[in-house]
């Protein structure tokens, strides 16, 4: 019996050997060595000198690191929050048995399978001063009066119709789809008439000249170039998480909604009291994956390159790289390693928080 155990263990070791080797050399050894380097003064060429905690103490006094730390946290929190809320909202809207959903799924998925390099280059073009973002904003602002009129007319017509129907004793909720279609058509026709008679007109004086990249300006305390990266990443990750939610929504029993509807719950109440609680485990997963992913932001920062000033886009991951391979300076591997350990600790905190609160949730 003991011999059989032994043979099995030998087999297991053989099967695991390639994996164990890479794990030991490129992970365990690498992790320990980074940890060791973080207590030394090292430049990749001469042997490391032990300096104790000096690197860690110096880090939080260095403005660039503090900026990187702030940027990383702001980026991770905003992107995770935005993508989770948007993905859940979209999934709830799209949670229908639909013919042809595969087609839309393909379309929605494409932004998230592409390489960050290609997507970032495309977004760099979009963010140029004469790029499409500024062009589209100018277009929307130009036609804002028309769009606002159409929206106002739509709400007005819808309200009138709903009141009329309810007077007749029919229970309709505010966004009844059939009535909304009528309102939409009427609002479109009404707006066209008003435009034709010159009651509303597109603005003619719109100039949008936003500088997205080469600027040190901030908005809400976050540098504008970082906002550019935030927008880009929310944009490319929302579809993925939305599909994750859509898969999760398929598992929510339909009769729960029916029961809620019979009890008179509005669609919003159904969403708030049925969908959201049932999806809580999935939401924890989405948030954890989102945070872990966003804390590592590097590619976009590197690809923005000289287009944006360093302190307006730097993140922890880029700080580490930039100190190991600085352009025209001695590598500061000690500082870089200390920053890397801080990054690893942040990730660990996220994971521990998820273990603490995420798994035990049963959904109710």
């Amino acid at each position: 019996m003991r011999r059989a155990r032994f043979v099995e263990a030998v087999y297991a070791l053989t099967f695991l050997l390639p994996y164990l080797l890479t794990l030991l050399v490129f992970f365990v050894f690498a992790f320990l060595r980074t940890f060791y380097f973080s207590f030394t003064d090292y430049d990749l060429f001469h042997s490391p000198k032990w300096v104790g905690l000096a690197n860690y103490l110096a880090l939080f006094r260095e403005p660039l690191f503090v900026q990187a730390f702030k940027n990383t946290l702001a980026y991770a929190l905003i992107v995770t929050l935005a993508q989770t809320v948007l993905a859940l909202g979209l999934a709830a809207v799209l949670n229908q048995k639909l013919v042809g959903i595969t087609f839309f799924r393909t379309v929605y998925y494409i932004p998230s399978i592409l390489s960050s390099a290609a997507v970032t280059l495309i977004f760099l073009w979009l963010y140029q001063r004469k790029g499409f973002v500024n062009f589209a904003s100018a277009w929307i602002l130009t036609y804002a009066p028309i769009l606002a009129t159409a929206a106002g007319l739509f709400l007005l017509l819808q309200a009138l119709q709903v009141i009329w129907e309810r007077r007749r004793g029919l229970p309709v909720h505010f966004f009844d789809p059939a009535l909304a279609t009528v309102s939409l058509l009427l609002a479109g026709a009404g707006t066209a008439l008003l435009w034709w008679y010159g009651v509303v007109e597109p603005r003619s004086d719109v100039v949008v000249n936003l500088v997205w990249l080469n600027t040190r300006r901030t908005w809400l305390g976050i540098p504008i170039p970082l906002w550019a990266i935030i927008l880009q990443n929310v944009y490319t990750t929302v579809p993925t998480f939305m599909l994750l939610y859509l898969a999760g929504l398929q598992d929510v029993p339909k009769n729960l909604y029916e029961a809620a509807a019979i009890d008179g719950a509005t669609p919003w109440q159904q969403f708030r009291y049925v969908t959201v609680p049932l999806l809580r485990p999935l939401t924890f997963l989405v948030i954890t994956l989102g945070l872990i992913g966003t804390l590592q932001l590097f590619d976009q920062v590197a690809l923005f390159g000289s287009a944006a000033p360093l302190e307006s886009k730097i993140t922890l991951a880029y700080y580490v790289y930039n100190n190991v391979f600085p352009s025209a300076a001695t590598p500061r591997v000690g500082d870089a390693s200390a920053a890397a350990i801080v990054l690893a600790l942040l990730t660990l905190v996220v994971v521990l928080l998820q273990r603490r609160f995420g798994v035990s949730e049963r959904g109710f």
Binding site: A30, L98, I113, A117, I122, P177, A178, T181, S306, A317
Partner: protein, 454 residues
Amino acid sequence: MRRRWARAGWIYGTLLFFGLIFIGPFYVSFLASLKDNPLEWPFRFRFAQVSPLNWRAAWKLGLAGAGDPWLGGFAPGAKVDLEVTYFVPQGASAEPPRVRIPRRRAGAGLGAVVDEPFAADYAKVGALEVVARVPGTLAEKPGTFYRYRIRIEYPGSGPRIDRLPMDLELSRSAFRAGVRFVSATLAPNRIERRGRVASWDSLTPGLVGYVMKNYVRVFKESKSLSTGQSLFWRWTVNSFFVALVKVITNLLFAAMAGYALARMRFPGKHLLFLLMLFTMMVPGQVLFISNYLVLRDGIFGLSRLFGAPTLLNSLWGLILSGVVGSSAVFIMKQFFESIPKEIEEAALIDGASPAQTFFRVVLPMATPALGALTILVFQGTWNEFFWPLVVLTSPQDIYTLPIGLLSFRNAYGQVGDWGLILAGAFLSMVPIIVLFVVFQRYFIEGVSFSGLKG
């Protein structure tokens, strides 16, 4: 009933709207990648490269220039005819524009180092011939539209030349008198000097050479300094090589490790599992310093035995640290745990060794998981940016596509040549999009597999 239809209408409308929002930026930047000036303001959705008239002209001119309707060119024996229309206001003298074949180098960046023959040294420009005179008005001024025919020939023998650039220049006096360029069989690439000069990058572009000019440039203008080969092509080959090798090693080693973790008993199993979960969460930036040193010194000096003092700047070095990833092992482990044990146990009882059982019985059953894993590893490797950036620095021939795109961005972004950068970005996406459309099912499965990992 009515309500259901309306509801479906709204749902599909919303789906379409969001589809438009998600794909829109890619669509407009693709259009921009076709343009002569991707930063033109205001942005236009209709421009020369999307007009069928120009497609036809480009096709014919490519055929006339080098017998190649797709990519065009200028070869010995070519007779190229182009018709251009100028407006001459009443009272002004009908002075024809001057034809010039400029010596223009291809691009500014990586392509400028390569010496190419100039069409100017071989082309013979014939006299302008007036084909038609039609009275008419331009901007409410009466006058005459002159249609000229320009003939350019390639007499004698010589090399085949890629491009036949041409400038049509009006004299200052004619321009001041109100003579204007109106149109041509093939729309010019640029109008320069406030309208006095109409300029073509190539008169004989061929269909692809005209519509997808920037895409052709991506291949032609990025030449390796050492071999003269197309760098972009080289990067594509490198990317494929790395991705394929990593797919094979990951499939094999991850299946083996996953199987051991799922089915075999050995000391330290739980610890190993925890370590695996931990590795999946640690950022690459925490590990790369040591890994860089390991590659630099050739795996503790071991690679010296095989004659390689360092593994930096080599694709094998890039592959080595990723021959088997923790998430791949995790996916395989989850899969093996989900399939019934009975079949393997039957094989074992029949006297097969664990190795035989694994390769003959278990692996064939694992096709769905292996399929999903193939896609995930291929996509992950194809898109990987950080680790190749650390390992591959010089020469440029050794880059993979994402790093190549970064070097494009650095070389052409400064001069604002966005057409080339965008074209490179789109070209690099093609294999992944093809893969995605063909193996969509596996992509979705991959997400649900890796979605399990929390």
